[in-house]
C-alpha cells in the first residue's frame, strides 16, 4: 500500500482520560478512507491529530507520531501552519467566515500570499468554486455575505475554501451530518470526484455513507483501532467479532 499518512504508537489523553490507545495505522494515498465506529470511540480525536487541531484544546496530551509523506508533523521544527495548509478540514457544521463568498475562497490564498495579482485570485476563486460545484449558483453574487447561502451551499463553499490553499489531504469530520439528504449527496459526489487528486479521510457514524464512500475502512471502538483494511474486505468479511456486530447493526 502506498501510505500517505502513517500513525505510529499514537496515544491521546484528555486530562487523565485516555482517548486514543496506541494507534498504529496507515492511510492510503488518493483514496477515501472512512473512520467509523460508535460515538465516543475517538474517531474525531484521531482525525484531529492529522491537522494538529487537537492541540487547540486545553489539556489534550499527545504522544507518538503522525507521519505525512514520512515527515512526523509533531516534530519540533515543523511549522503547524504548513501542516494545516497541506491537510484541509471540512468541519461538522459549515463555518463560513463573516465575509463575502469571494473572500471566503480567497482567504487562505491571501493568508499564504499564493498569488500576486488580482486577476489570478479571481481565476483561482472561480476554479475552486467550480470544483466545489458552487460556481453556477453563486457567480452572480460573489460579493454577498457567505452567510446568505443555504447550509448545503455553505458546506460546499467551505470545501472550496479548503481546496484553494492546495492541500494534499482532505479531512472530513462528519461533513454531511448537518445537511439535508440532497446536499449530503452533493458533497459525497464531490468527494468521490476529488479522490484521484486528494487523499481523503472521512469520519462518519452512518454505515451507509461509509459503504458509499470508502475505499479503505478503519473501525474504532473505545479509543482503539479494532480493524483496518480495504473496504471490500472489511465490509464483506470482517475479521473481528466487534466489527461484524457493528456492521450487522447490533450497536
Amino acid at each position: 500500500m502506498d501510505a500517505h499518512i502513517q500513525v505510529k504508537n499514537l496515544n491521546v489523553y484528555y486530562g487523565k482520560q485516555q482517548a486514543l490507545k496506541n494507534i498504529n495505522i496507515e492511510i492510503p494515498k488518493n483514496q477515501i478512507t472512512v473512520i467509523m465506529g460508535p460515538s465516543g470511540c475517538g474517531k474525531t480525536t484521531l482525525l484531529k491529530t492529522f491537522n494538529r487541531f487537537l492541540e487547540l484544546l486545553d489539556g489534550a496530551q499527545i504522544s507518538g507520531e503522525v507521519l505525512v509523506d514520512g515527515q512526523n508533523i509533531y516534530d519540533r521544527e515543523v511549522d503547524v501552519t504548513e501542516v494545516r495548509k497541506a491537510v484541509g478540514l471540512l468541519a461538522q457544521r459549515p463555518s463560513p467566515l463573516p465575509m463575502s463568498i469571494y473572500d471566503n475562497v480567497a482567504y487562505g490564498m491571501h493568508i499564504h500570499k499564493m498569488k500576486s495579482e488580482r486577476k489570478e485570485y479571481k481565476a483561482a476563486v472561480r476554479h475552486y468554486l467550480e470544483i466545489a460545484g458552487l460556481w453556477e449558483e453563486v457567480h452572480k453574487r460573489l460579493h454577498d455575505p457567505a452567510t446568505s447561502l443555504s447550509i448545503g451551499q455553505q458546506q460546499r463553499l467551505c470545501l472550496a475554501r479548503g481546496l484553494a490553499v492546495e492541500p494534499e489531504i482532505i479531512l472530513g469530520d462528519e461533513p454531511t451530518s448537518a445537511l439535508d439528504p440532497i446536499s449530503s449527496q452533493n458533497i459525497e459526489s464531490r468527494l468521490l470526484q476529488l479522490k484521484q487528486q486528494y487523499t481523503t479521510v472521512i469520519v462518519t457514524h452512518t454505515l451507509r455513507q461509509a459503504k458509499r464512500l470508502a475505499d479503505y475502512v478503519i473501525y474504532m471502538y473505545l479509543g482503539e483501532v479494532i480493524e483496518a483494511g480495504p473496504a471490500r474486505e472489511v465490509f464483506t468479511n470482517p475479521k473481528h467479532e466487534r466489527t461484524k456486530q457493528y456492521l450487522e447493526g447490533l450497536f
Binding site: R84, A91, S95, P98, G108, I111
Partner: protein, 328 residues
C-alpha cells in the same frame, strides 16, 4: 373542583389549610411588589437627582444663558464670572490622556488572555486584574502623588522638553509634575481592569468555529485574530472604551490629588488642569455666600452627569447587543 382556588370564601372543613395557603399567596405578592419598588428606586434616584440639579442650577442658567456658561473661559466667582470652559476642557484632556494611555495596553492584555493564554494563566491573571479595581481611589491618589508626580516632573517633563518641546501639546511651561499627564497616568491604571474585563468578555462571544475555520486553512493565530476575531469585536471594543471613559470622567479624588487644580484652559499635557469633579468636590459647601456660586457648582454637576449618562447608555446598548449574540 375548587382545588387550586385558595381565596375561596366558602367555608369547608379544610378551611384552615386553605387560609394558610391564601396567606402565603398574599405574602408572595407583597414580596413581589416590594422588590419591584426597590428595583425602581435607582431609576427614581437618577431622575430626581437630574431634576433637582436642573432646578438648583436654573438661576445661573437663566441669568447667563447656557452657551455663555459652557463656553465662558473665566472663572472668578467673586466678580460674578462663571465660565465652565476651563473645567470642561480639563475633564476632556484628563480623560482623553487616560483613555489613550490605557486602551492599547488593555487591548493587548485582553487579546492575550482571551486568545493565547493557557487556562491556568488565565485563572491566575484575571483575579489579580480584578483586584486592581478594588484599590480605593484615594490610594491611587497617594500613589500618584508620591510616585507619578515626581516621575513626570523629573523624567517625563525633561525628556519631552528635550525631544518634543516644539510640539505644543507636549510643551513644558510650568514644570511641577502636577497636571494632566500625571492624572492621565493614574486614570489609565484605574480604568484598565474595567476595560480589560469587558473586552475579554466580548472576545468570548466570537464562536470557536470561526477561529477554527481560519486556522484550518493554515492561518496563524495572529492572522486569525486580526482578520476574523477583531472585526467581529470592534463595536464591543469601542463600547468598552466608552465605558472606561465614563468611569474616568467621573473620577474625583485620585485626579484632584495630582492634577494641580488651576482653572486655566490647558494647552499641553504638562499643564495643570481643573476637571469638573475636582471643582465640585473642592468647593461645594465653602464660600457659599457668593451669589449664584451654589447654582454654578450644581450646574457643573449637571453637565458632568448628563455627559456620563449619555456615555453609559450608549456603551451599554452596544454591549448588550453583542453579549446577547453570545447566548443566541
Amino acid at each position: 373542583m375548587s382545588r387550586f382556588i385558595t381565596q375561596d370564601i366558602t367555608r369547608t372543613e379544610d378551611q384552615a389549610t386553605r387560609s394558610s395557603a391564601a396567606l402565603r399567596t398574599r405574602q408572595d405578592q407583597a414580596a413581589k411588589r416590594t422588590f419591584f419598588i426597590i428595583t425602581l428606586l435607582p431609576v427614581f434616584l437618577i431622575v430626581t437627582i437630574t431634576v433637582a440639579l436642573l432646578v438648583r442650577a436654573w438661576p445661573i442658567i437663566s441669568a447667563y444663558g447656557l452657551s455663555d456658561l459652557l463656553l465662558g473661559e473665566v472663572w472668578r466667582p467673586n466678580n460674578g464670572q462663571f465660565g465652565f470652559w476651563p473645567f470642561i476642557l480639563g475633564t476632556v484632556w484628563v480623560t482623553t490622556v487616560g483613555v489613550v494611555l490605557s486602551v492599547p495596553a488593555c487591548l493587548l492584555v485582553s487579546i492575550y488572555l482571551a486568545e493565547y493564554a493557557h487556562a491556568r494563566t488565565r485563572s491566575l491573571a484575571k483575579p489579580i486584574l480584578d483586584l486592581l479595581a478594588a484599590i480605593p481611589p484615594v490610594v491611587y491618589g497617594v500613589w500618584g502623588l508620591l510616585a507619578i508626580v515626581p516621575f513626570v516632573d523629573n523624567v517625563l517633563a525633561p525628556l519631552s522638553d528635550r525631544w518634543l518641546g516644539s510640539v505644543s501639546i507636549f510643551s513644558v511651561t510650568q514644570p511641577t509634575g502636577f497636571g494632566i499627564l500625571s492624572a492621565g497616568i493614574v486614570l489609565a491604571v484605574m480604568i484598565s481592569p474595567l476595560i480589560i474585563s469587558v473586552i475579554y468578555e466580548i472576545f468570548s462571544t466570537v464562536p470557536h468555529d470561526l477561529r477554527h475555520a481560519s486556522l484550518a486553512v493554515g492561518a496563524t493565530q495572529w492572522q486569525t485574530i486580526r482578520n476574523i476575531v477583531l472585526p467581529q469585536v470592534a463595536p464591543g471594543i469601542l463600547a468598552a472604551v466608552v465605558l472606561g471613559a465614563s468611569r474616568a470622567l467621573g473620577e474625583t479624588i485620585a485626579v484632584l490629588m495630582v492634577v494641580g487644580n488651576v482653572p486655566n484652559v490647558p494647552t499641553s499635557v504638562f499643564d495643570s488642569a481643573y476637571p469638573l469633579p475636582a471643582l465640585i468636590a473642592n468647593n461645594y459647601g465653602e464660600m457659599m455666600s457668593i451669589p449664584l456660586y451654589d447654582a454654578a457648582l450644581l450646574g457643573a454637576a449637571l453637565v458632568l452627569l448628563v455627559v456620563i449618562l449619555i456615555f453609559n447608555i450608549l456603551s451599554t446598548l452596544v454591549l448588550q447587543r453583542m453579549l446577547r449574540r453570545k447566548w443566541a
